[in-house]
Structure formats: structure tokens, C-alpha cells
Symmetry: none
Subunit: 205 residues, 4 copies
DNA sequence: GATGAATGAGGTTTCATTCAT
DNA sequence: AATGAATGAAACCTCATTCAT
């Protein structure tokens, strides 16, 4: 009885739903956005949405998974292209700097991501998962570069790699937050400023 | 001719409600926290809460006002005690650094504050107010110090004061966010690291 | 401990409360008017109101009692002054006609009275009481006059007194309703028209 | 691809809700009747009711619209069938007279209608709309007949048509009010009595 | 697979009444 | 007697989810 549709079709449909949900969650926040908002935005019926996701929360989680994974993949892939630690670090700063000007979709993702990050502080389990992932991926991404740079003599040896990594991600999250809430925030300039401070320091003998 | 309870009493009651609300909003988020949560937490009846505040939203706004104002007051007051720009800047870094270890209440406030900041990006009007206030108070606090330091020859003259200010607040928001979501985040160490980077740079001739 | 106040004082206070309640009930309706409205309007505290009346409903009922009784008293007293049935009937028509222009208070009373009358249709018991009273007082007031007039040969004998009476009160209620909802309703003119129709008919031999 | 239920189905559902609401409003009054009353009475869930109407007030207004429109349609349609003004006027009197004995539903409608009419006196805007409609439709209905009758020489020319019209509607509202609150009110007899008074007078040369 | 009407738990807010002072 | 803060039942309305078609 059920028309059997291709996996391709299903994937497309899911993407449509996720895109609608992202826009709605960004616009109103997860709690305030309703399934009807998503229906209105995506043009997909309520029943159909529940065919693809079993709850509003699941949509949210999938949305966040999706973005972390794609971000991770992109980063890991590109970083390996550079040979020196300095270039790698520079690349990371520039990568984030060049996100600006932000597309609406990127702003939406960031808003939703930050909101979710905050929300995670309320859920022991979620929090542990996120921190674990943060350590394993984000923190390590830069400590690896730092260690590489220090081993190669590019960077001063007396700086704790995890401090640089912590500083980087702390700063990027702060910058994205400010960018999202303030159109006039000098996102690029400030990232460049921090980049110069950090690199200057690291290269000091 | 009596239950005209003292203003003192009313103030105290309001504080109790706000304290309960803060805990609940921090624990669940503004949307997810219910009036019944606040009732359960504070032991104050639903009706009484509505005698003091006319809506859940009003409680939220009052909570945020309160914290901004107290923060503003504290900062402005203390900064003026120092005579050199360097000392002032150092004081600011140290002030934020020494917030750690965070009391539960401070974490709650920060969580709620960050959530609200994010939320504000969804409300044109609120957003404008917050950015205005940010510029007038937070940004200016540091650009003033910078200009003072540059005029006095303490700081190198070629750094844009607003970049330092932007960097500072970007960083502090990021650090508080990370601290709130990650118990193990080396908050103090990283703040000291950034402080050293910034001051080192500024004092370079 | 309780200051013992005079009966006079109490009566005055009750009147004040009733006056405030009348205005509020007229303005919003019994259900929609709140005790706080009455507090605001009368300037008397909530506690005090509950010292004099044991519920909002009791205030309402007292208000209606008050007006029926005063109306009854006025009518009965004045009617007896006239000697002929025709004069009495004319007096009644004129009495109602000359209520216009209506003071705000009168309009309020009428609104509340009509609302109550309607409301009474929902309460078996109340309904019976009101109909009883209506028969005993209002209906009888005019059937008595009619019978007097027919006995005296003033009025044609073949008209059922109760029909004239029914017509009169039906009409007056309708006219007051229209007057209350429509500023431009030609209240006096229409009453005079009906009066002329009725008297003309009754005096026909 | 289905539960796009037919328009027919929706209309029926709406009617069911309105019927339930009418009964509840009549029984308790608009304010006192609760959505849960309507749920209990109609057997339709709260959510479903809010799918069809966006507020309790909207249900009320629709109910009143419905009845005015159907009344208007019925009247306008039938009146035109008669050729003489006298017949038309007689038809109107008879139409209202023959509503009795009142079905429960008719009594409900009248109660709700009268309550609403009274209520309208509290809302400037509503009041204007209702009076406008009253003038345009109800008043005009009879002044037209009067003018027709006077032009044709059926009715005496010295009677102001608007007085007859005013008298008619004043009387009918009064009669319906009395009928609704008093089972024993001789509705038919009194209407016939008024009809005879009015027609007698109009036909006098 | 798609649709959207139906459900009802649960949220916010109001307000008559009580009662300590 | 007077006051008004406190109470909590009960009102209106929303919305995630289900399910008949």
C-alpha cells in the first residue's frame, strides 16, 4: 500500500524538513518554534514530518549532529593540506575570519548551535557527550598543531598547547556570539587582532 | 489598618521570587521553566508571584536588569580606584578571573544572561537596546582606559582602542560560556594567558 | 478591640460600596466586573467590602433588591394620589417617559437590572421569585387601575386588564432596553405614541 | 492524501460547535459558560474547538452573526411576497406571534441575543455597528412599509413612520424578553393586542 | 507515504475569598 | 473595622503527537 520511494527521495525530504526547522529554531528558539511553524515554513505536512522524525527534539538533535559532523569533516580535511604548524594555525584563524559576511543560514546555525550549547549545560548526559567531543575533536585539533609546532621549533616550547587551544575556541565562540547579536561587531578585524597576538607570542623565541 | 506591609518586606519578597526564578530559568531555560516550577522552588504561591510581577516575562526582564545594573555599578565604582590605565585593565582581567570558582548562583546568572543575549538577537527592539547599552557601557569602559593609557604613554599608540575593548568582551563572554558548560575548563589560566598577551602587546613600544 | 461604629456609619458605607458596585456592574457586567474594580472605583478596601457583604453575588442581589423596593415604594405612593383610573395610567406613562434624559446612574441601574432579569431566566428559583414579584406588584399595579377604570365606566369593559398591564410592562422594558443601547432612540416620543394608542382604545365606548 | 475533510464536514462540525456553544451560553451566559462546558455539551475536544474558532469570543460573535443574518434573510424574503402594506405589517406581527410556542433553541438564541445586545452597550464600537445595522435593516424594514402604505392611502398620512417602526421593535424585544423569563407570559395574546391597536390607528382616516 | 483534524495535558494568568496584622 | 497580601481553583488557550483516511 505504501508507495516505496527511493532512499534519495527520503534524504531530500529530510533535508527539506531540517532546513525549515533550522530557520524556525533560529528565528524563535527551539522551545518557541512550533511544529506548525515548520510546517508553514517548509510546506511539508505535519504527518510527513512525523514520518521522518519521531519528535521535535529529534529534529533538533539531528540538526546539531549534522552541523558538527560536516564542520569536523571540513576542518580535518583541510588542515592536513598544510605542512607547517604555523600555516595550520593561520588557516584556522582565517577560516573562521572568512566566514564573514555571514549568510542567513550560517547565522541561523550559529544561533541554534550556541543555544544548544547553553542548553546542554542543563543536561548532565548531553553535557558529558559534548565536552567529550569537544576535547576529542576541537581541543585536540589545536593541541596537535601546537605540539607539532613546538616539536619542529616553530613555536616557543614553554606555552601549554591546551591553553592556546582553549583560547582559540573560547575566542571563536565569543566572536560568533557577538557577531550574531550585533551587526556592527568588527568580527574580522578582531579575529585578525587575536591571531596576530597569538602568533606573535608563539613565534617569540 | 495594617497589612500595608513595609516596603522592605515587599522588596524582600520580590527578591525571593527573583531568586527562585533565577534558579528555575537557569535550570531549564526561560521557556521551559514554568510558573509552577517557581512556585515549587520558592514556596511562594502563584497568586503572590503575580502580585509582584505581571507576567513571567517581566520576571525575566527584571532579573536581567538587576544583574546588568549590579555589574555596571560594581565595575564603574571599582575601576575609578586605580590611577594608571594598566592597573585598570589588569583589574578588569583579574576581576573576571577571580569570579572563579563560580557559585551556583553566579553560574545561574551567567547561563540566564547568555541565553537572554542570544534570545535578544530575535527581537529587533531588544537587540537595539542591548547593543546600545553594550556600546555605551561595556565598550566604552575599555576604550576610555585605552585612550587614557595611550595619552599617558603607557600603551602603544597604534592600537585601536575599540579593538582591545571588543577583544576583551568577546573573550570574556566566550570564557564564561565555556566555564558554564565545562567544569574542567581552565578558566583562570586562560584569562591570565589572554591578559598577558594583551598587556604585553600594549606595552610594547 | 473593634471600634464600634454607628449603624448610620455602616449604612453609609454599604451605600458607598453599592454605588461603586453598580457603576462597575453596569460598565462591565456582573461577571466581568471584579472586586478589585469595585475597590478601585469606591476607594474602599477589599477587606472592608467583605465585612459588609459576604460575596460578590450578595452585593449584586442587594443592589437589585434596593432598586426594586425603591421603585415599588415610589410608584405605590404616588399612584394613590390620583383619583381617576385614567389619571393613574397617564401618570405611569408619564413617569417612565420623564425618566429621560437618563442620568448615568439610571442607565447603569437599568443595564444591571435588565442583565439580571435575563440572568434570572437561568435560575429556576430566582426566576420564580421574580415572576411572583412581577405578578404581585407590577402586573397587579395596572390590573387594579384597569379594574377601577372599568368599574367606573372610564374604560371599555371588554379589554382584559391583564393584557393592558402586560403590554405596558413589555413595552417599558423594551423602551428602556432600546434607550440604553441607543442614544438616539426617541424614547419620549415613542412612549407618548403608545400612551395615546392605549388610552384612545380604552376610552372608546 | 486524505484527511482533507470535505468542506461539508467542516461546516457540519462548526455547526455542532456553535449549537453546543449556543446551549451553553444560553444556560449560563457568555462569561459564565466555559470552554469545558462546550466540550462537555458537544462532545468535541477543546483542541478541535480551537481548530475552528480562535477564541471563545469568536464563537459568540459567529453565533450572533449567524442569527442576525438568517433572521434578516427570512424577513426580507418573505415580506416581499405581500402586495399591500397592511398585509406586510400584519405578516410581521404574525411572524413574531407565531414563533410561540418557543423551542428550547429559539429561547436560547433569544436569551443570548438579548444578552449580547445589552453587552454591546459597553463597547463603543460594537454599539455603533449594532445601531447602524438596526437602523439600516430593522428600522428601515418598517418605515418602508409605512411609507408604502401612506403613499397608497392605506395608512393615515400623519403618523411618523419611524415611530411605528420604533414601537414595533421596542415591543417585540420587550415581548421576547418577557417570554423568555416567564413561561406564563401571554405572548401571543399581547402581540395580537398591540397589532390591533396599531393597525386600527393606522387605518383611521 | 501524506494529510491535517483531533486530542488533551499542561501552560499562563485571573480573581473571589481569606486572614494576619 | 480596615487593610491588602496571599491563596489556589479554575479559566482560556497552545501545541506535540496520534491516527483515520
Amino acid at each position: 500500500m505504501s508507495p516505496i520511494v527511493s532512499e534519495e527521495y527520503k534524504r531530500k525530504k529530510k533535508k527539506e524538513i531540517l532546513a525549515g526547522a533550522l530557520a524556525c529554531f533560529a528565528k524563535k528558539g527551539f522551545q518557541a518554534a512550533t511544529i506548525d511553524d515548520i510546517v508553514a515554513y517548509s510546506g511539508i505536512s505535519k504527518g510527513a514530518i512525523y514520518n521522518y522524525f519521531k519528535s521535535k527534539e529529534e529534529i533538533y538533535l539531528e540538526l546539531l549532529n549534522e552541523q558538527t559532523e560536516s564542520a569536523n569533516a571540513r576542518l580535518a580535511e583541510n588542515i592536513s593540506k598544510f605542512s607547517s604548524a604555523e600555516e595550520k594555525l593561520e588557516y584556522l584563524f582565517d577560516l573562521y575570519r572568512d566566514m564573514s559576511p555571514f549568510s542567513q543560514e550560517r547565522k541561523d546555525r550559529i544561533t541554534v548551535q550556541l543555544e544548544f550549547t547553553l542548553h546542554s549545560s542543563r543536561d548532565e548526559n548531553l553535557n558529558r557527550i559534548l565536552n567529550e567531543r569537544g576535547k576529542k575533536f576541537f581541543l585536540k585539533l589545536i593541541t596537535d598543531i601546537m605540539e607539532e609546532g613546538q616539536a619542529a621549533g616553530e613555536f616557543r616550547p614553554d606555552t601549554d598547547p591546551s591553553h592556546v587551544s582553549g583560547l582559540f575556541w573560547t575566542f571563536m565562540d565569543g566572536a560568533m556570539l557577538h557577531r550574531v547579536i550585533n551587526e556592527e561587531y568588527p568580527y574580522k578585524t578582531i579575529i585578525d587582532y587575536v591571531k596576530s597576538l597569538v602568533l606573535q607570542d608563539l613565534k617569540q623565541e
